[in-house]
């Protein structure tokens, strides 16, 4: 089966800024792909370009193997002919149509017969628990209900590809958790491919089979959730993903050792052909000590954040802010003369431009 969607070399330039910069992305059929990144990174533009709401400046897009946009050939298939559904952050429900009409109007445009429209309506209304509200107008529904209607409207035509643009950001925390579960169920039931935009990494981690981290119009990393956490490809990913994100320590080469602030520390297997590197060290691999020693850096206690049975300890050193995850902090953390102990080998090393070295 061809990939559900495939972008090659897609660039989108608005008059004064580059929103997408040479995007290559493949999403396999049946995947739940999350585009994750800070606001303004281009993830929504990517989604809208895939939908055909924006024309790319260059590049090509295939949906289910069919070419839908190719700037070189001047091809641009209309959004309605791309066999996809989209759920907007604002829900974009038509305010003058009832819930029933919101769901069935697209079906009528698609040319479905009355009986088929009715059965689809019943099906999606039951799937999303909105059967009691079919006669209401969108303004008579709560935010959560509007959200369900928007999803029902998107899936009723049974598109092969579903696009979600930050769909849960207008809901309260409890509803958000609830909707996450429902979206996963929906994904399984409809056997569709989902491309989902969010800036919330918990949302990404809990739903995605594939996470695409974006920054400044480029893809930083495209990987499965576990890989993203264990093997970040760029310093941006290392510093963005994880809760809290891993420590990124700037090291300057000093002979055969590495200067961290005022101290020089021996690290194993760091590339000696670089003057400056950034070392990623996860909080769990940082220890606390009362005495100075090898690979120990003087630090000052700032705050302790409970995390289950453990605590995240925030410390201030002359190499910057360091976070450690420890089991038992009270006995050790308070008082002066505190030291953080770094592991002999960092979890990952990046060059000064953020590219992964080891």
């Amino acid at each position: 089966m061809p990939p559900a969607i495939e972008l090659s070399g897609v660039t989108k330039r608005f008059s004064d800024q580059v929103a997408l910069d040479g995007i290559d992305l493949t999403v396999d059929h049946g995947a739940f792909c999350v585009l994750l990144g800070p606001s303004g990174c281009g993830k929504s533009t990517l989604l809208r370009t895939a939908a055909g709401l924006e024309n790319p400046t260059s590049g090509a897009i295939r949906i289910a193997g069919k070419l839908v946009a190719d700037v070189a050939r001047g091809l641009h298939v209309a959004p309605g002919a791309r066999d996809l559904g989209m759920v907007f952050q604002s829900y974009a429900l038509w305010p003058h149509k009832t819930v029933r009409e919101n769901i069935t109007w697209p079906l009528r445009i698609a040319g479905l017969a009355e009986a088929e429209r009715k059965s689809r309506l019943i099906e999606v209304a039951e799937m999303l628990n909105i059967t009691p509200y079919l006669a209401r107008y969108p303004s008579e529904l709560s935010g959560g209900q509007q959200q369900r209607v928007a999803i029902a409207r998107a899936i009723a035509p049974r598109p092969s590809l579903l696009l979600f643009d930050e769909p849960l950001s207008n809901l309260d925390a409890r509803l958000r958790v609830e909707m996450r579960t429902e979206l996963l169920t929906l994904h399984r039931q409809t056997d569709s491919t989902i491309v989902y935009v969010t800036h919330d990494q918990v949302e990404a981690m809990t739903m995605a089979t594939q996470i695409v981290v974006m920054n400044e119009g480029r893809i930083e990393q495209d990987a499965a959730t576990a890989t993203l956490l264990s093997e970040p490809q760029t310093a941006f990913v290392a510093g963005f993903v994880g809760n809290p994100p891993a420590n990124l320590l700037t090291l300057r080469r000093n002979g055969t050792g590495w200067a961290l602030g005022a101290q020089t520390i021996a690290f194993h297997s760091l590339p000696l052909d670089h003057e400056t590197v950034r070392a990623m060290v996860r909080p769990a691999r940082i220890g606390l000590a009362k005495q100075p020693g090898e690979r120990r850096v003087a630090a000052r206690f700032v705050e302790a954040l409970p995390f289950g049975a453990q605590h995240f300890i925030q410390l201030e050193s002359d190499a910057g802010r360091i976070t450690a995850l420890v089991d038992d902090w009270q006995a050790r953390a308070y008082g002066s003369g505190l030291y953080v102990e770094l592991p002999a080998r960092p979890d990952a090393v990046f060059d000064s431009d953020g590219a992964r070295l080891t």
Partner: protein, 587 residues
């Protein structure tokens, strides 16, 4: 008056202690204000109709020998003007709104700013400028317009009567329709049309099934408002209709009141209120559904613009022609006319005589230029003073009524206060003037008659502008989220401190804008004050109207230019050149 005596004599049905609660006293104050400003004068018209002469006047007007000329012909004229104006305004205003907000038309920002201006140009100024351009020699050479001077044979129907009245009202009112429809179109979010596009809807289907239905309630409201404004207008038919005995309800009512048969005038005014009010009430009812639309969440401001392609420039030029014809052209016509030595000689030997000239027996019966004319300078001060006093008084009333509405929250009292304070919107200015003269024009008990005092002008002005003042206060309040005041309270600030440090600074912008709106409405108004003014209290608009009727066109036009400058200038200042009132021009 009987009503008053009854109110004063009735014992209070509740313990006096309750008067001390702020909610109660504010609410009572609000009710008294609305009662004195709106209810009592309007009730006065009803009382007059129920008086001894009332029934005779009613039967005269509706069935008597004069009924045809008094009521039925003017009523037909009024309705025809109202419908043609409403339909044309919705069409023109809607088209400009669509071009400015939804397409990639070039120069759309300039066109948007200009399209909001005609509403700030008083109708009587547009009507006077019409005579400058299209007048013929029917009324003597003094009324010869530019085209007649250039040798064109002006058809009578284009110079005077129903056609010019209609066109002048369209030129003034289409800009309200533009503002309303543009504001509604902005609410049709980008996502809403994108969702339809993804469903496979064609451009025509999107316009027909999404965009148009969403703005329909607003289109109806805009049409109703233009209709009501058109049928209420006195100045346009007075300037362009009366010279050829073309009458509308407003001019007939004015004539009846001026010629000593006020009861007949009141009957006609009652008919006007019903005609104008019925359409506005109908639209308010239809809009209730529309209001629900505005609560929809959406990223307003983010809109995909429709590409016009080859039609880009033709549309832009047509829109530009429209906005220039209705703004710059009338202004220049009036200015040039005020600079011409004689009427009928528009561009020959421009002179500043009518502005600065000393009295010269050879010109205009020895009248000095407007800026040297003591009566006129007096009128400038009276007009600005009455405008400013009305602005302050209207805002003060707005604050009392606004606090009463806020304190009674969503209860029945809040609803009642809202409805009553918006009542003057349904009543033509001429009718409010007539009501005030009927009620406050005679002594009430020990109180002297207010006729001939600035008080009656200010009171009537406050009554007419009350809806705008209440609205300004409400939107100033809406500007301040309750948690802003609450957080100041938690910080330990007392009520006065909060008022001075939080409330006033945040609300000031909207309150000033509200003041300017009321001020400008007063300065440029003719309909409301035409029955209330006296020679001791000359107002600019009335003087311009008098000068025009007496054949001193240049003086009238010079005054019109002054009013136009004050009106447009104040409006532009208050709206930050459209920044505040037309957010869609700045995305």
């Amino acid at each position: 008056m009987a009503i008053d005596a009854k109110m004063g004599g009735r014992p209070l049905p509740f313990p006096v202690g309750r008067l001390l609660t702020p909610t109660f006293s504010v609410t009572t104050g609000a009710l008294v204000l609305i009662g004195l400003l709106v209810i009592v004068p309007l009730a006065g018209i009803a009382t007059a109709l129920a008086s001894a002469e009332g029934p005779d006047a009613i039967s005269d007007v509706f069935t008597g020998r004069i009924a045809r000329n008094m009521l039925w012909v003017p009523l037909t004229n009024t309705f025809t003007i109202g419908f043609v104006v409403a339909a044309s305004c919705v069409l023109l205003g809607g088209a400009v709104a669509w071009l400015v907000t939804m397409t990639d038309m070039p120069m759309r920002r300039t066109i948007g700013v200009l399209a909001a201006l005609p509403f700030m140009i008083p109708t009587f100024a547009v009507a006077l400028s019409w005579t400058v351009l299209f007048g013929d020699d029917r009324l003597g050479s003094a009324s010869m317009g530019l085209f007649a001077q250039l040798g064109f044979d002006m058809p009578a129907w284009l110079a005077w009567g129903g056609v010019p009245v209609t066109l002048v009202l369209i030129a003034h009112l289409y800009s309200i329709a533009y503002m309303m429809i543009a504001a509604a179109l902005v609410l049709v979010g980008r996502d809403m049309t994108a969702a339809a596009e993804i469903a496979g809807a064609s451009r025509a289907q999107i316009l027909r099934s999404i965009v148009f239905p969403v703005v329909t309630p607003t289109i109806i409201a805009a049409g109703a408002l233009c209709f009501a404004e058109a049928v209420s207008s006195f100045s346009a038919p007075a300037i362009l209709g009366l010279p050829v005995r073309f009458h509308t309800l407003a001019t007939r009512a004015y004539g009846a009141i001026e010629t000593g048969t006020p009861e007949r005038g009141y009957v006609l005014i009652a008919v006007m209120i019903v005609v104008a009010g019925a359409f506005l009430a109908l639209s308010a009812f239809l809009q209730r559904r529309g209001q629900a639309f505005t609560t929809v969440t959406g990223k307003a401001g983010q809109r995909g613009r429709m590409t016009l392609g080859g039609w880009k420039w033709p549309f832009a030029l047509a829109a530009l022609a429209l906005v220039i014809t209705t703004t710059i052209v009338p202004a220049l016509a009036l200015l040039f006319s005020s600079l011409s030595p004689r009427t009928g000689a528009l561009f020959t030997d421009p002179t500043l005589h009518y502005w600065f000239g000393a009295s010269d027996p050879a010109i205009a019966q020895g009248q000095a230029g407007v800026l040297r004319n003591p009566q006129l300078l007096h009128a400038v001060w009276v007009t600005l003073g009455v405008g400013a006093m009305t602005g302050v008084a209207a805002l003060a009333c707005g604050l009392v009524i606004g606090s009463a509405i806020a304190r009674t929250k969503h209860g029945a009292m809040a609803q009642l206060l809202k409805q009553l304070s918006f009542l003057p919107l349904l009543v033509p200015g001429l009718a409010i003037g007539a009501a005030f003269i009927g009620f406050y024009g005679a002594p009430i008990g020990p109180l002297p008659s207010l006729y001939g005092t600035p008080a009656i002008l200010v009171l009537a002005g406050v009554a007419a502008t009350l809806p705008f003042a209440v609205q300004a206060v409400a939107s100033a309040r809406a500007q301040i989220a309750p948690d802003l005041e609450e957080s100041a309270r938690i910080a330990g600030a007392g009520p006065l401190r909060i008022l001075g440090a939080i409330t006033v600074p945040l609300a000031a912008g909207k309150l000033i804008a509200g003041f300017v709106l009321v001020f400008v409405k007063m300065v440029r108004d003719l309909d409301l004050v035409i029955l209330l003014y006296t020679p001791q209290l000359p107002l600019l608009t009335v003087l311009a109207f008098r000068y025009a009727s007496d054949g001193f066109a240049q003086f009238a036009h010079a005054i019109a230019v002054i009013i136009l400058l004050v009106s447009v200038g104040a409006h532009l200042l208050a709206s930050g050149f459209g920044r505040a009132s037309q957010p869609w021009l700045h995305d």
